[in-house]
């Protein structure tokens, strides 16, 4: 990679959200901002090659994007009316210095994750506007046609404009719910990368997990006091640390008990554990932890064990009990049962999950868990049909391969 290409890549990673946020803040229009910033990056490729990389790439991009935005508004207003042009140009006056507009990014994130937008739309818009991913890349990530994704993003921008979705921080009263909405979007992006839901040839999408972590880090910088932000970041880091040991050379998912723990990323684990300790200290001081913090703590227990047999399952179970009180969903109960199986044996766990059948029978992880418990109880026939059902329901190719091998080993 040449120096210029490297500078562009770095600027794209570090400055995209900041520049989009600054231009949106100035012109009050996401569509104008998106186009202007994309054009500014295109111009940067040519100009930086000819004139060298500017000393402050972020400022250069912001100024250039502002000019592009003014050009577009001028072009549109030629067709519109002159009065509006004067007004827009007044509003499009000199850009603020970069440091002062840092929290513009937060406003941008809250706008993209607004509850008046459908969940899939929030995800797409956040990846485009805050993450700077291209529309084709987002379409690929969610197995949607490019034109359909383009339409979804265009419609979202139109709704934001027409419905008056504000470009500002939520009210103090709304803030906790809105932050948790943003975290839900980021966790969804992460999960899609962690275990691709469809039959994608890549069972794990590192680009998506990395992007989700990068954006969560950004939120953490902007909202350093929020415990759930820290919790979600820790959770993602501790899962990401195990990424390379999760899929075998022949493309099969590797369960936690069979993973090579020596291949886990020690730096990510250390960072995740540091965040969990920070939240444990807050909990000890009386701040009740939310669900991401508890999930992170569970993952901290797993990543602390050098061997599966060293796992402190009673700690895991205690954390799940805490989580169940917060989130009585059947999926939490299912995961809790896995800890029960380790502590009290598969029979007790099976009794627990049988109660979830009417709600989870169509969920692949339920059938896979059930198949494994039946296998451990020596009930081969029932185990086989549960594996069959799990294989039918699982979309991810690495997971299907894993389940198929386990079924065929039943003999």
């Amino acid at each position: 990679m040449t120096d210029v290409e490297e500078a562009i890549t770095r600027a794209h990673r570090d400055e995209w959200a900041r520049v989009v946020a600054a231009v949106t803040s100035r012109f009050g229009d996401l569509d104008v901002a998106e186009e202007a910033v994309a054009e500014a990056f295109t111009t940067a490729v040519e100009r930086w090659r000819a004139d060298g990389v500017p000393p402050n790439p972020g400022a250069w991009l912001t100024t250039t994007a502002h000019r592009k935005a003014i050009d577009r508004i001028r072009r549109e207003n030629k067709r519109d009316d002159k009065h509006k042009e004067a007004q827009m140009l007044r509003e499009g006056a000199p850009p603020e210095p970069l440091a002062a507009i840092d929290d513009d990014r937060l406003r941008l994130i809250f706008t993209c994750c607004h509850p008046a937008l459908a969940m899939q739309t929030r995800v797409a818009l956040t990846l485009r506007m805050v993450g700077g991913l291209t529309v084709p890349a987002i379409a690929r990530a969610f197995l949607v046609q490019e034109t359909a994704m383009e339409r979804r993003i265009t419609r979202a921008k139109a709704k934001i404009k027409a419905a008056g979705i504000p470009y500002r921080m939520p009210s103090a009263e709304d803030l906790p719910a809105r932050v948790s909405g943003v975290l839900a979007v980021l966790f969804l992006v992460f999960n899609e990368g962690y275990l691709v839901s469809g039959p994608d040839p890549d069972p794990v999408r590192h680009d998506l997990t990395a992007e989700a972590i990068r954006l969560t880090r950004l939120i953490r910088v902007l909202l350093p006091q929020d415990g759930e932000v820290a919790g979600l970041l820790a959770l993602m880091l501790l899962i990401e640390a195990r990424r390379t040991s999760r899929v075998s050379a022949n493309g099969e998912l590797i369960a936690l008990d069979e993973q090579d723990r020596g291949a886990w990323d020690p730096a990510l684990i250390a960072e995740g554990h540091r965040l969990v300790r920070e939240r444990l200290a807050a909990a000890a001081a009386g701040v009740a932890p939310g669900r991401y913090q508890i999930l992170a703590a569970i993952n901290a227990v797993h990543t602390s064990a050098r061997d599966m047999r060293d796992t402190d399952w009673s700690q895991v179970l205690a954390l799940y009990d805490q989580l169940v009180r917060l989130d009585p969903s059947p999926i939490v109960a299912l995961n809790r049962a896995i800890a029960v199986a380790e502590l009290d044996g598969p029979e007790a766990a099976l009794a627990d999950i049988d109660r979830l059948e009417d709600r989870l029978a169509g969920y692949h992880a339920y059938q896979a868990t059930r198949a494994d418990l039946l296998r451990r109880l020596g009930r081969r026939h029932e185990s086989r049909s549960a594996y069959d059902r799990a294989i039918e329901l699982a979309g991810n190719i690495a997971e299907t391969a894993y389940l198929t091998r386990r079924r065929d080993q039943l003999g």
Binding site: H114, A116, A162, A163, G164, I165, P166, P170, S171, D174
Partner: protein, 107 residues
């Protein structure tokens, strides 16, 4: 901006009919706080008449909501600076009138 807040009722699961005092109190507050533009409850869907005069002569028929499960039961028009404010009002309105609210901006 102005927003139309449509009150959506459901024939299968209608909202309660004793909400008028609460709605009146809510309207008083809307007026006092400067959000109120207009409000009105509608008569039953079987009182509606549709006229289609796009052809040679006017054709009369019953309302479009007569057969549907969900129908428009009333409206508010609010003046609000942005959607967040309108949605906060709608959250209250839904509780107050015990029905769903669709919030839609005027062009």
């Amino acid at each position: 901006m102005q927003y139309l807040a449509s009150v959506i009722d459901d024939k299968g699961n209608p909202g309660s009919t004793d909400r008028q005092p609460a709605i009146s109190a809510f309207n008083e507050r809307l007026i006092a706080e400067g959000y109120w533009v207009f409000a009105g409850g509608l008569a039953d869907t079987d009182a509606a008449t549709v006229i289609d005069n796009r052809g040679e002569q006017a054709v009369f028929s019953d309302g479009p909501f007569l057969e549907s499960k969900e129908y428009l039961a009333g409206v508010w028009v609010w003046e609000a600076p942005d959607l967040d404010v309108a949605l906060t009002l709608a959250r209250e309105a839904s509780k107050v009138c015990d029905r769903k609210i669709e919030v839609r901006p005027f062009r």
